[in-house]
Symmetry: D2
Subunit: 408 residues, 4 copies
């Protein structure tokens, strides 16, 4: 008697051969693929292929809106950049995929969930962390990590089980993509002294081929989230897709990163995230205008912690929730418009305004004599601001010379 | 009977009128100007001008090497970026200027030091903090903050005291410069919705006017500090000047920043720091290759603290020294070469190597079957990595559904 | 024509002489005293005294409940301890006092608020920070800081203006008190090598005089806030008063602290906070049982930031609000009972339980063979947990010896 | 043909049965026991027992001085307290034990190192992390984790292999001890609502049985490390032993902690660390007197990170080294004497002095009119200290009411 299993299906060779392999292990496979904005994927074909290779059910879910609003928006609000460079791509879709799969598993009384990750990387941890959190008793299958086949063995198994083998199988790249970006990792890229070849990129023009005229766009934010492009209100998923398109043409958003994987090794990754480059730059610029100084100076510490948590498979965790409570509270006044210049690989914030919440006060800031700023106050401020260091030097003379008459 | 005072002199109108004003207050003025790499300044003329307007001595000190090695190198090693955007320009020269002035004051038995800052900004704090730390009993004069003249009053006073008035006095800009960069702040820039006009910049080409061919440079680091350009060993000051020249031509290093001044207000600043953009990007990239993960993930917190300290006038402080002890220890293995592509405003790390200290291990990182990475280990790792969150969900069910048979 | 001013009145000599002094300055004085749980103060007498010495109105407000629920509860939830030792006393009442005074000022069309702090300490900053935040245009008077009288001059002025001079005026101590504790600072205490004399304390028995039998109390928490004592539900203000009484008899809650004042100097303070010692120890103990590890390890950083903010006069600030949003989110599951042993100066958590939210799982924790913990998982966990350091040593050999056959 | 293995031997049943078990696996066993100050252990008997049960060599190393100076001193300097409560006991000895074992393994051409930890706890990670770091190619054996015997199976195996079975085998406690403290965990303690029974403690008197007269001791520190007791210079190991003795009699140093183990579960631990309670309290008190404020406020963040690192098996790591570079730099001026009152379970710092490095300045701190503190300075300081929050409220009115005439 077979039991049901829900598989995170992609349509690729790995998760396709997994289906007969899981069948042989005694499972009826429910294949599920989420549309989170992968570029140029034919979801109908993928759905059909799963059934063709042995799935008992095949489900496609359009999760683009939910992905943008529930998973990308927090990244923007918190300026999450793993190691200062990577705005999260794969790390974001994993918890959403699992959330959907767990729901489907419960609806179908499935006993197990399977994912297609290998044992080298971060995604296995992200998939399984989310499964453990959302249903600690759910069984987990990780066929690709288990069978550890060479490419040849995998193809042989595919032929033996009537699994179609893609013709572009000799691509040196391993790709993951969603509407927030594209991750590319493998083969030729692995020597850090090799420059990434042009065909490693798909969403962005080489700067050499970008238009000679800059493009200016206005991005409107409400409570830290982009809500309009050039004045036109757009759902976040659509806004991201539109900005990806424009910014990609201007060569914006390429990232070449030697990063620390959660499993303890360094890897070299090529990312493209055009919209992320534009929207996150704009967001930070608007925060510069609207966040009070102490908030602005403390928030990066929270942001870094959040970026690490998300990268390190802890999206579903109480610390994530509590840190986001902090972030959400800071975003109440992050309202306004930022004008971005997109040009030759650069996404530059050139102007910004916040009618209700700008803390910039021209009258206080000006150096002219007309300023309302109380210059006398500075004298007292400096004395007390520096007093603890002054006393320290009076006593310890690390950088200064002792005086005969120094009072201790 | 007069007493001696040492003045931080710049040659501009403000510190020039300060000399007769200080004379009238009863001081013999020793004017001191430091050459920290200001662009296109004629130091001989400045030295002569001080004497002409009433100084009793006028001293020029070439401090470029000391500035680069003692003040810029820590910024590079610690990736110091105030508010994530500003690599420190004025904040760096202030403590060095004061160090020299205090020495000269001691040599000449001067009783006071004067600086030319207004009461609105950060520099008054930086000057006076350093004076307090290096000689807590030294008297401080801040004539520009004190007299608070309008431009007209100042010119009138200058004419009355034979102080030459510069012909470019109607420039809307207030500039400070050293070899690490150029800060520009005032007038027309102060509305954040105004785009900065082209004439606000001096060290960098507009991207529109940059060469159509990229330039590649190799930067070699030893213990986190740049030591060679394209394989040629150079003293740091010379290396910075050379990179400024190249990168400026490619339009690299413009910064338009709404920043939080130490005195509690927001101001809008236009910076140019071409070499900083190139060298700090290269440095971070080499750290990605050579820093162990836990170090890489903790160091940003120290970096941010250092950036705040330096910006906020605490270069001479025990906390700065202790934090730099941490940073210096992390830099022992930051040795290697980074290939930078300079093109159309972009400074991109495209390749990097570290013969002795690279922690990137191609054999561990590869996703191919030949990897030496122990995939079995991941299974156990994931269980324990996620266990505390799993137990949390088993008990509290924040994101999951309670099960009848959940054991508490 | 006079204008109205609202005075934070205490009944003591300083704020009493301030009334005729403010009258002479042209103000009608509305004296306001808040009952925040000061020990043994006769509020009727204080109210009458204000009128006697020249106030036009005298108002007493019982603010104990609001103080406990709005100002003390956050301290407990966030384990706020300034410099690890001081659970906040005066810093808590200042923003509440100002909130009430600003409301009264607005109701009465008063133009100014006056406080009785000197220019040496923290409280002037706390009072004025809150005034600036709650009404930036409100005028501030600080008579004691302004007149800077010697004790003799103050008494002379009091006699001249019919202000009663207290008979205990020669007390060497300067006291501030509320239901959360008592701060004592001055005179004899100021040499850190002097032991604090017994009469510096008022709320706590010397350990030498405490009962020889321990007392056990059960404190029940809901969402991180104490709600019941020995099973009896109590409003927080009453619960604190009750615990102060019991714990004080057992000599609990004395603090002798060399602390860093906000104005840049070190001072020596003697505090008593019996209930704080008991309730905060119990709260932390319950958190140990109910907080997930990552939350438990990150929260102290937020706690320290909050303690600094509160001490440093920034209770009314957006950073405080955002940090408390984090804290409040963490406290949702901090529910349970802690048994405290109070004995000879010690407040010891000896037992704790949380029926709904305990994350302690005896079955996982036991070292016996019956444990459900997966020991095999540890092997894989250790490999990956240590991998980045292992690779670091393989490459750099800081603590290890190079091997001939080490693969790099 | 057998290979050599070095075993971390304790003399207990677990590591004794491990010897024949390892012999059967083909190893010649070199048993090594370190004397790190365990209470009441007969090292000669332990050494002999190893040989009796089958070791080919048995080595005892007196490592008390090295343990105190290289492993305990950093804990004191950095105020390391895991989760604010546990001053590290077992976590400190593990890396030292492994350092010695790796050296012995290299001298003897051994191929493996064995430890006696189970698979549930932290110590397996600490042992193996240190082995990986110090010799990544060394083989590791963990017999107790491997055989996972019940108590009965273990005794049966012992009888069958002539391993003596201790008569106190039915003790419900699992103990680890060194001169810094004693850790006790198991059985009856595992229900957090059970109070720890008196026989769980061995180093400390119950408060009920302590002397009725307090004891005062003076602890002298140089650069943050205790160097003298009551004026008498002592090596650190001897000083700790002496303070343990005195403080234990006064009932000081009991800890009852629900802690988060590295492997993801909560456990309940009973510690005794009398000297730690006294010396760490004294050290923090002296820091209060000698550390500049910014250092004092930043250091706790480093301290917490270090405590986590040490607890979490990363003593041998570059981050530990870099963080200790920070700590060591802060300790240069932590010189002086602290008078501790030891009484009825309390270790109270009652007086402190630092002739050379005290930053406490009575003249600045006093509230009397004679103070040299510049009260005028406070007025300006407060304006600028609060300005960013004031502007925030002027614009956003979170806590204040909008005014008609508020200038934005």
């Amino acid at each position: 008697m077979t039991e049901k299993l829900v598989l995170a299906y992609s349509g690729g060779l790995d998760t396709s051969v997994a289906i007969p392999w899981l069948n042989e292990k005694g499972y009826d496979v429910i294949a599920v693929v989420l549309d989170v904005g992968q570029h140029g994927k034919d979801m109908d074909m993928i759905q059909a292929k799963a059934l063709q290779v042995g799935a008992t059910q095949s489900i496609v879910i359009d999760a683009k809106s939910e992905f943008a609003e529930q998973y990308v928006a927090p990244v923007i609000k918190a300026n999450m950049m793993y190691e200062g460079e990577y705005p999260m791509v794969s790390a974001l879709s994993r918890p959403l995929i699992i959330k959907k799969l767990v729901d489907i598993a419960h609806e179908n009384d499935a006993v197990a969930i399977a994912h297609g990750s290998t044992g080298h990387g971060n995604d296995q941890v992200r998939f399984e962390a989310a499964i453990h959190a959302l249903d600690p008793e759910m069984k987990i299958e990780a066929p690709i990590r288990d069978f550890q086949w060479s490419r040849e063995e995998e193809i042989e198994y595919a032929h033996a089980h009537d699994v179609p083998v893609p013709i572009d199988l000799d691509s040196p790249y391993s790709i993951d993509e969603n509407l927030w970006g594209r991750a590319n990792e493998a083969g030729i890229l692995e020597n850090p002294w090799n420059q990434a070849p042009e065909d490693a990129y798909a969403l962005t023009q080489a700067i050499e081929n970008t238009p000679d005229v800059p493009e200016f766009i206005d991005v409107t934010f409400e409570q830290g989230v982009p809500v309009a492009l050039n004045g036109e209100q757009l759902p976040l998923a659509e806004l991201i897709v539109a900005v990806n398109e424009i910014a990609g043409q201007h060569g914006i958003g390429r990232i070449d990163h030697i990063e620390n994987r959660l499993v303890g090794i360094k890897s070299r990754e090529i990312y493209e995230a055009p919209a992320a480059a534009v929207l996150m730059t704009a967001h930070k610029d608007l925060e510069d205008l609207t966040l009070e100084r102490d908030v602005a100076h403390f928030k990066p510490l929270i942001e870094q912690q959040l970026a690490n948590l998300v990268y390190e498979a802890k999206w579903v965790s109480p610390l994530f929730d509590s840190l986001m409570a902090f972030v959400d509270d800071t975003q109440k006044n992050v309202n306004g418009v930022v004008k971005m210049k997109l040009y030759k690989g650069n996404a530059i914030a050139v102007a910004r305004q916040s009618e209700q919440n700008s803390l910039y006060n021209e009258d206080l800031a000006t150096y002219t004599a007309a300023s309302s700023f109380d210059q006398e106050a500075a004298v007292g401020f400096i004395k007390l601001w520096t007093l603890s260091n002054t006393v320290y030097e009076q006593v310890n003379h690390v950088h200064s010379q002792p005086k005969k008459d120094t009072v201790k």
